[in-house]
Amino acid sequence: MQQTLYPGGPGAVHQALRKRPLKRRGEFLIMGMLVLCATVSLVTTGLIIYVLFSESATFFREVSLADFFLETEWQPLFDPVSFGIWELVMGTFNVVFWALVMAVPIGMATAIYLSEYAAPRTRRVLKPVLESLAGVPTVVYAYFAVNVITLQILRPLLGNDLPIFNSLSASIMLAVMVLPTIASMSEDAMASVPRDLREAAYGLGATRLEVAVRVVVPAALSGVMASILLAIARAIGETMIVAIAAGSTPRLTLSPLESIQTMTGYMLQVGLGDAARGTIDYQSLFAVAAMLFLITFAFNVASTMLVNRFREVYE
């Protein structure tokens, strides 16, 4: 006769299968903790946004929105005081733009090399090395930008007319900073493109480069775009490099050879200075922060839509 799992009869079956309240209570406890943790981070974010906008509101009681958006001078510290945000926005745009001009092609080339050309062993060594670049504190990059890039590379090349604090040195450093992000994330995206697709292209007589450019990159486009967008977000938010290397002269220019000031650079300057709580300087910090937040937010939303629209979905 077959051996039964439940020698005690029908009661034993019930005993084995019934709910165990103690075990369930443990589950509830854990779930509660998880919800709590999630709530803390959500509430913190919410509070930050609240403070940002409520303090900004105080600022805008003193300075009209029209002045904020229509004035072209950002001059909060000297008379005549003027709060036209565009010089700071342009400063941020300036360094981020030039950083991308350098970082995107080099990052993509690196990713393509690592994913399509490098031998597995080379990749195993190179990728962690590259990623460790992301661990360098940005203040180190910042002083490197001034002492090495500006003084020992750019000035000998471009002449001493170049201001010691210039947006080009900051852009170069920002490019170095975001390069690992672009290269590493793009490489991940390219490596996850199915081998089938590569084989199909090779089978049609495509060269390595054609396979990389026409098949792998388009198929990995959403990941590649995501890496670039993350790089942009990091570059926009980066503070130390631009505050130290790019200067503190708000200027409405895209030229990389001038001293400029970014939104984050201004915030650091004010935050470190002796702007007393409640003064207009102090409140302007929140207005700039709110602007920065809105730009980043709009940018994130737009980029998500863009990526969803243009990616080539496989499987």
Partner: protein, 300 residues
């Protein structure tokens, strides 16, 4: 494209020769394409072969995958490679267009000739080899692009200068897919059914203008109806192309192929050619006991 037209003409003459060859077994020794010394395909007679393999051995790292395979593949015929999993049939197929080289650490000895040219000679470009030898894979693998761009891909990377619309239409017609997709060539290739995707992959391979198509278990991911369509297509295509097909499905080999090669892995794991001959003979009156055992389902 002119080059290929010339070749089609040449193939036609060889084809006529081939039909005569089928009747007269002695023709082989005089055709000059095969060297009696190595005897690439014992018991098979046909005209000048498309591929000749001599003592082909292959390793993945230290693992042997093929050992001393010597055989020839006829022009404008369907040749099926059958055998149990791991017998090296896919590896053999991938040796014919140098696809195996994409895997690091592989090694090959022996000789593979295509139209009498050694394709592993040091001055041969594998990219050029793959341009002329089409391949269709196990799982349909269209690019995540439109139907049109899928078909045009190969022609574009090969610098095709002719009328692309015409080429796409012709290739889709050859692959018996045009009528099903003609209304929307801008639709993603991935929106098609599995069988249609596989025919799209065939059209894509044809658009490059090869004279041979290698098929690596092209129906294994398809339902029976789609499989039937592909098999019909293979029979149509063999009028103009040479087809070499790896299949797990013995009924399929029996249905579509003119010649069948049975392979089996030895103790060392390396695949060897056990028996090769006209499909009818291999399936009804095999020389080797092992072939009979496999075909009748005693193992594998």
């Amino acid at each position: 494209m002119a080059r290929l037209d010339l070749e089609t003409v040449a193939t036609r003459t060889r084809d006529q020769e081939l039909q005569e060859g089928d009747r007269a077994a002695t023709k082989m020794s005089t055709s000059g394409g095969l060297r009696p010394a190595t005897e690439p395909s014992p018991g098979i007679s046909f005209g000048e072969p498309l591929f000749v393999l001599r003592d082909l051995s292959f390793w993945y790292g230290n693992k042997p995958a093929l050992a001393d395979v010597t055989m020839a593949f006829p022009v404008n015929r369907v040749t099926a490679l059958i055998g149990p999993s791991g017998c090296g049939k896919s590896t053999l197929l991938r040796c014919l267009n140098r696809m195996n080289e994409l895997i690091p650490g592989v090694r090959l000895t022996g000789e593979v000739t295509y139209h009498s040219q050694d394709i592993y000679a040091s001055d041969i470009d594998p990219v050029e080899v793959r341009r002329r030898i089409g391949m269709v894979f196990q799982k349909p693998n269209p690019f995540p692009k439109s139907i049109y761009d899928n078909v045009a891909f190969g022609a574009r990377v090969n610098g095709y200068r002719g009328d692309m619309d015409e080429l796409v239409e012709r290739s889709l017609k050859q692959a018996a897919l045009f009528d099903e997709v003609k209304d929307d060539l801008r639709k993603s290739g991935l929106a098609l059914s599995g069988g249609q995707q596989q025919r799209l992959c065939i059209a894509r391979a044809l658009a490059v203008g090869p004279d041979v198509i290698l098929m690596d278990e092209p129906c294994s991911a398809l339902d029976p109806f789609a499989t039937l369509k592909i098999e019909d297509l293979i029979r149509e295509l063999v009028e103009d192309f040479t087809i070499i097909i790896v299949t797990h499905n013995m009924q399929q080999a029996a249905r579509v192929s003119d010649f069948t090669a049975f392979m089996l892995a030895g103790e060392d794991g390396a695949g060897r050619l056990i028996e090769y001959g006209p499909t009818e003979k291999v399936f009804t009156n095999p020389e080797e006991q092992r072939t009979e055992d496999y075909i009748t389902g005693r193992f594998g």
